[in-house]
Each structure stands twice: as C-alpha cells, then as structure tokens.
Symmetry: C2
C-alpha cells in the first residue's frame, strides 16, 4: 500500500457528517464493487443496476474502468504496481462518495485479491460489497466484444488479465454476492443485485 | 500534465446521465474551488458554505486538503511535481462529483496558477468557480492556528507556501469571486459565497 508522505496533516471533522448526508438522501450508503474478467459483463451489469436504482430515486454514481483511466488514473498503465495504485485510488474515491451519502458502483477487473482486500479495509463493516461477476475465461473469450482477447492471443496486448501468464485473475473467495454471468442475462443479473441490496435493507432510510 | 498511459480504453456513455442526476437532486452542479494561503480560512469558509447549502437541501461534498492527503493522495508530498499531481487528482475527483450531480467544494492552497487553470480546463464553461480567499501573508502568519508558520520560519518545515522562496503562492488573476478574508469574519464570507451562487442561479433546478 501507499506510504503516508505528508506530515503535519490532521483529519478534519466536517460540519456536515456522513450521517447528515445519508439522511438528506433517504437511503444508506454502500460501495458495490464489481470484479471479474474483461467482457464478463461488469460494466454493463453495474450500469443497469445504476439505472434501476436511479429510477427509484436513489443517489448513485458509477466509477467505471475505462472512464477513470482517462481522467484520475490516466498516468497509470497495466504493470502490477500500476494496477495496484489504480485500484487503491478508486477505493479511496469510492470512500469519498460513500462519505458523501452516495451509493458508489465500481466496475473494474481488479484482478488481485490483496488489492481488493486493501480497499475493503478502508470501509466500516457492511459498507463494502464485493460482487463477483463470474464468467469463465471461455465465455469471455467467446464474447470478446472489443476484440481484446484476440489481440492478446496474438501478442499485441501485453499484461492482459487471464491471458498473459504474468497477469492472472484471482477470483474472490469471500465475495458478498456471486453473479452467474455464464448463464444469466444482464437484466436478470442486475435484478439479483437489487434483490441483494433490498435484502440487506440498504435502500431504506 | 499527466500523460495518457492506458491505450485500448474508450469513453463509456453511462445510462444515467449527468443531467438525470441533476434532475434528481433539484439543483445545478458547480465546483467551488477555494484557494489561498495556509490559515487564510479556506477550509473553515468552505465547511461553513457546505453546512449552509446542506441545511437548505442541496447535495454537496467537501474535498479538503488534509483529508485528501490522508487517503487518495497519501503517496504525494510537497515537492512542485507532487503538488501538481495533488491538484490534478483533486480536479479529476471534483469532476466525478459534478458528474454525479453534487456541488463539490474544494479547500486546497493550490498555489500554482497553471495547476488551477489545468483543473478549470476539465470543466464546461460556468461549472468551475475559483474563489480566492484573500488574506495577506501577514494576516495568516499572525493567526497561525497550527503553528506552521512558526515552524516554517524556524526552518523545520520545507516547501512551506509563502515562506520558502521555492514555494510561492501565485494569487488568482481571474477568480470568479474574491473574498476579503483580511477584514471579514467566517460567517460573512460564507454568506458572500451563497449570495454569489444564488446570483448565478446555481441553487435552482
């Protein structure tokens, strides 16, 4: 993990607390951390969940792999160190959104277990929800909507998760929710997430 | 500015647009970028504005110097390069909050004009509001609530803005709002900000 460099800094207690912000929004906060292989459906499921939550008046925001990489994390590549820093920053931003009273959805491959656990450790119990979008490498490679697997197999893309032996995907062992993305469609998977959130009472005040 | 490292990324259009999120929140989005010397009152004024906006039902969030440095930017120090990266990341996070329909308040010294201008360039016209908390070095050094100026004068703190000749504060030349923090109290300064926001119609749907 990153080392604390700045000294002479102290935590400010803000006048408006996280609880105040949740009260205004009328629901609890949660970080929905979608993880899975490229083309597993993470981003599409997360966007569909986001849409369904917004439609019922919940305050949400989606942090999405490619978009974050064009802004906040544009100075990071795909080496192991850069992947770790990528996930660390996203975790910290998700924490800011949760503090703001917003349900944050993240859709990143986030291949390393240690990185996901480090993000989990940022949050109080019950706030971080690891959602494993479980689609096999075979399923994902068959879909290949952006032709990335083909390029990776041809050696044109280095560090491609699941293909490059140096870039493994470490499947979650203790995900709060596992989605069967080999067999179910997007809408059904999104409904599974909503049902999970309702079951946890997260959508109520 | 940071170079784009990741290739094979494309911008995703989210199913829930920024306009949708603004509609749910019932007000426009804005980034209120407070800049000024250490002890000028940036953080206290920003927190007071945040409190007043929250009290009238606006969806806000405050990004605050020291707090960000203990999380997202904990791996940055106070060298010129690190200060630039610090401000770049905060600008990108403020952009995410604005995209989420939230009024983002930031309270950072942000001493370099070029860094502030680079953040401004991230936003559409009218969304970024540079607010100069104008307190003189004399005023700030007289206040010195954390004893930092004293330490900096004693040579115990390097790179201290306004004291270390290598760490100048470049005052804004085109701030949207200048607050007279030499002469006015916190509450009066916060009301000046609220009046400015109302005048711009930013607090209406």
């Amino acid at each position: 993990m990153a080392e604390q460099k700045a000294t002479n800094v102290t935590w400010h207690d803000h006048r408006v607390s996280s609880a105040d912000r949740q009260k205004l929004n009328g629901h609890k906060v949660a970080v929905l951390w979608f993880t899975g292989l490229s083309a597993s459906g993470k981003s599409t499921v997360a966007n569909t969940v986001d849409h369904k939550l917004h439609a019922i008046g919940k305050h949400t925001y989606i942090l999405d792999g490619d978009n974050i990489r064009m802004g906040l994390n544009k100075n990071l590549g795909f080496s192991a160190d850069d992947r770790t820093e990528n996930i660390r920053r996203i975790g910290e931003v998700a924490k800011l959104f949760a503090d703001a009273g917003v349900i944050a959805l993240t859709a990143f491959i986030s291949p390393y277990r240690a990185d996901r656990d480090a993000v989990r450790a940022l949050f109080p119990n019950g706030e971080f929800h690891e959602i494993y979008v479980n689609a096999s490498l075979e399923t994902c490679e068959k879909r290949d909507p952006k032709g990335l697997y083909k390029k990776a197999r041809a050696g044109e893309l280095k560090n491609f998760t699941g293909i490059d032996p140096n870039s493994p995907y470490e499947a979650p062992e203790k995900a709060e929710l596992v989605l069967d993305a080999n067999n179910k469609g997007i809408d059904e998977l999104a409904d599974d997430v909503i049902a999970y959130l309702k079951g946890k009472g997260l959508l109520d005040a």
